[in-house]
């Protein structure tokens, strides 16, 4: 199996799907001639031409709308948001059209569109460009929200997202594009709504996604030195959520910490905690804790940025708290 980077895995997913289906096309800022702001679309324009890899002006609401319109008439657009911070400008199209039109047309239109790009913080990008908006999209009926943590998951999930007939929000991470991982040569798909146990354990369940999976894995390694076996669950799709996988794990471990990069208030972690307490109440030996970003705009200063984000240390402390040690 070849070891490739996250950006290469995503690139392969798009290339393979564009190859397979001529209705698939990519559109966004700098995706063509510049080969992508983060080089995820490297070589695609050369391969598929300017009619299927389309550079846009800096006008998110406009090109999101164009994408949705084209999806309504049979194309399968991939709309790259340079980062999801800029998707805020396109929210009217995403929420009011992409998420609603299938419902409001009584099923006459389907909207097979993927909005993809990096979300969350990277490194010293300050308050406006370091936002994790997962819960915003999860809150809207009609949207599927996927967010991979490894190159393998990224490729298999993006191919599924492109093939699905519903709008998919596909959130990557700027700081994970360089991560390497094994990706098989042969084709594979990872279904929507199916999580992955990234590490088995019997003492505590850590639920994390996107780059927080790696924070959770590091915390699990530290806990292991103290004979605590943490199970790390990556739901991969945030909506619809693989609640069964989480519940099964909590029934085994009796305790859970959810790690999310987003803000705490009304976050995805709150949703997961609510579902666990509804579905596995009698299995809980401790309250479910969340480790999230602090409820603050992201500071620019790197030392403060580290304080605001969830850290391995914060996860270890929360884990020990629910383990009563």
């Amino acid at each position: 199996m070849a070891e490739i980077t996250f950006r290469e895995a995503l690139n392969q997913a798009m290339a393979e799907e564009m190859q397979r289906d001529e209705n698939v096309y990519l559109m966004g800022e700098e995706v063509g001639y510049y080969n992508g702001a983060y080089k995820v679309s490297q070589g695609l324009m050369e391969k598929f031409g300017a009619s299927r890899v389309i550079d846009t002006p800096i006008a998110e609401l406009g090109f999101a709308g164009v994408g949705i319109g084209s999806a309504m008439v049979g194309l399968r657009p991939i709309i790259e948001m340079m980062t999801f911070n800029f998707s805020i400008l396109a929210l009217d199209q995403i929420i009011n059209n992409a998420a609603k039109l299938r419902y409001m047309s009584g099923g006459q239109f389907k909207i097979p569109i993927v909005f993809r790009g990096p979300g969350g913080s990277a490194h010293m990008l300050a308050a406006q460009h370091s936002q994790c908006l997962d819960p915003w999209f999860c809150n809207v009926p009609g949207l599927i929200v996927m967010t991979p943590s490894t190159p393998y998951d990224g490729k298999g999930m993006l191919k599924t997202a492109i093939r699905d007939d519903n709008p998919v929000i596909f959130i990557e991470s700027e700081s994970m594009y360089g991560f390497k991982g094994e990706v098989p040569e042969e084709e594979y798909l990872i279904p929507i709504g199916v999580g992955d146990i990234k590490r088995g354990g019997s003492d505590i369940t850590l639920v994390a996604w996107n780059k927080m999976v790696h924070v959770a894995m590091e915390a699990a390694a530290i806990l292991e030195k103290e004979d605590i076996e943490a199970e790390v669950i990556d739901p991969r799709t945030l909506k619809p959520l693989d609640e069964q996988m989480i519940v099964t794990s909590v029934e085994k471990t009796n305790r859970c910490v959810v790690i999310e990069e987003g803000w705490p208030y009304a976050g995805v972690g709150a949703e997961i905690a609510a579902r666990i307490s509804a579905l596995a109440f009698d299995s809980l030996d401790a309250p479910i804790l969340r480790v999230s970003s602090e409820d603050l705009p992201m500071p620019y200063a790197h030392n403060l940025e580290k304080e605001v984000l969830p850290s391995v240390d914060k996860v270890v402390r929360a884990a020990k708290k629910v383990l009563y040690i």
């Binding site: 009796n254 109440f281 009698d282 299995s283 809980l284 030996d285 401790a286 009563y324």
Partner: protein, 421 residues
């Protein structure tokens, strides 16, 4: 027609009732009005009367069993009637609270009746309730994780006996496991047999005291004002009163009740309750007096004490205190006071502070009469003094008001003839 007999609400604060003893057994014929069982509320033991005639077909809560107010305790029906449906009836999620009057209506509405009030709806079947009973005793809630609760329920363990080591004393899985491990071994944990501390389960009265005192001390902002009274005049006055009639034995408490009633009349702000963000000023002056009984205390109430003579007060108190010790007071006799007196003078106490008995707004803690050197007109003399401490709910009463009340009380105690005017 088959009738469900339910646990009546025997006192204002009652949430759970205990069947102390069934006086009838299954199969007995019952006439309406006949006493079928004795039940214990948080304060007293009362007789339960059947409202309907028939055969006592099924006892659902056995002797010693506990049930929430409104819970079905038995079924009365004709001898050949099919009661299976009543037995299988799903318990409703009715809690004792539903039959309590809302707090704001305490003053006007709650007229506790000696006649047990049947709950409007059939409530939890005793068997279903029994499981919950393992987990909580009345309203003294045990903190346990859901998992620990489930384990205790499955293993039929009594959470009261298990020490919680989680956050804030929460009982968690490891506590259940270590308890099971401990009980599996036959040796006593301390090594020495008989060295274990004695664990005493709360009776209903102690539960009520626990609940109400915690509620009071955690929700009512208490403040305390102490004043010393010259007792020489009252000592003299009491001697004269008791000498006036051979049979009369007026106590200091009787005189204090009267004095407090008159002081409350002149300082009505103290004769109050705080409820629902409102101060309720009572027109009646009903004074409760704490009487120590085995395992607890009870406060018989002298109603409209301001309008009663010292002789009347003395008669009522003597009679009620006696029945209090036998736990035979009816709820009307020990609930719904507007002010309470707690006197520890007989134990040689100098002074102490008391916890307010909600929803009242004040309580007077009375110390003993001490013979002490006192300064009168620049001369040191021998005198008798007594200290009282008024605890007040600061939401309803301010310091100056409390001081004015005590000053009025002092005036009455030091000029005791005013008590008979």
């Amino acid at each position: 027609m088959a009738i469900q007999v339910t646990m009546p609400k025997l006192s204002d604060t009652m949430e759970m009732g205990l069947i102390s003893k069934w006086l009838k057994k299954e199969g007995d014929a019952i006439d309406a009005g006949e006493v079928i069982a004795e039940a214990e509320s948080d304060k007293s033991t009362m007789e339960l009367e059947a409202f309907d005639s028939g055969i006592l077909r099924k006892i659902l809560v056995p002797d010693g069993g506990k049930v929430a107010v409104g819970g079905v305790i038995a079924i009365i029906a004709a001898a050949d009637e099919d009661i299976s449906e009543l037995l299988q009836q799903k318990p409703k999620n009715q809690t004792a609270k539903s039959t309590e009057p809302p707090p704001s209506q305490t003053e006007e509405k709650s007229k506790p009746s000696a006649v047990p009030v049947p709950a409007p709806e059939p409530a939890p079947r005793s068997s279903d309730f029994a499981d919950d009973e393992l987990l909580t005793t009345g309203s003294v809630r045990i903190k346990a994780s859901p998992l620990a609760r489930k384990m205790a329920q499955d293993e039929k363990l009594d959470l009261h006996k298990i020490n919680g080591t989680g956050t804030g004393g929460r009982i968690i899985r490891r506590d259940i496991l270590s308890y099971q491990e401990k009980s599996a071994g036959t040796e006593s944990p301390a090594g020495q047999p008989g060295a274990e501390p004695q664990e005493i389960r709360l009776n209903t009265m102690r539960e009520t005291i626990t609940k109400r005192m915690v509620l009071s001390k955690t929700t009512i902002p208490h403040f305390y004002v102490t004043m010393e009274f010259d007792m020489d005049p009252l000592i003299e006055f009491r001697k004269m009163l008791n000498a006036s009639q051979v049979a009369l034995r007026v106590s200091y408490n009787d005189l204090l009740i009267k004095a407090c009633a008159l002081a409350l009349k002149s300082q009505p702000a103290v004769n109050a309750s705080f409820a629902n963000n409102m101060i309720i000023r009572h027109r009646r002056i009903d004074i409760g007096v704490a009487v120590a009984v085995e395992d607890g205390l009870i406060t018989p109430v002298v109603r409209n004490a301001d309008g009663k003579s010292i002789g009347q007060i003395n008669g009522e108190m003597r009679e009620m205190a006696e029945r209090a010790k036998e736990r035979k007071l009816t709820p009307t006799e020990y609930t719904n006071a507007t002010f309470t007196i707690s006197n520890l003078g007989m134990y040689d106490v100098d002074s102490f502070t008391a916890i307010i008995n909600p929803p009242e707004a004040a309580i007077l803690a009375v110390g003993g009469i001490k013979t002490v050197p006192v300064v009168v007109d620049g001369q040191i003399k021998v005198g008798n003094r007594m200290k009282v401490t008024l605890a007040c709910d600061h939401r309803a009463i301010d310091g100056a008001t409390a001081a004015l009340f005590l000053r009025e009380l002092k005036k009455l105690i030091e000029n005791p003839f005013t008590l008979v005017l």
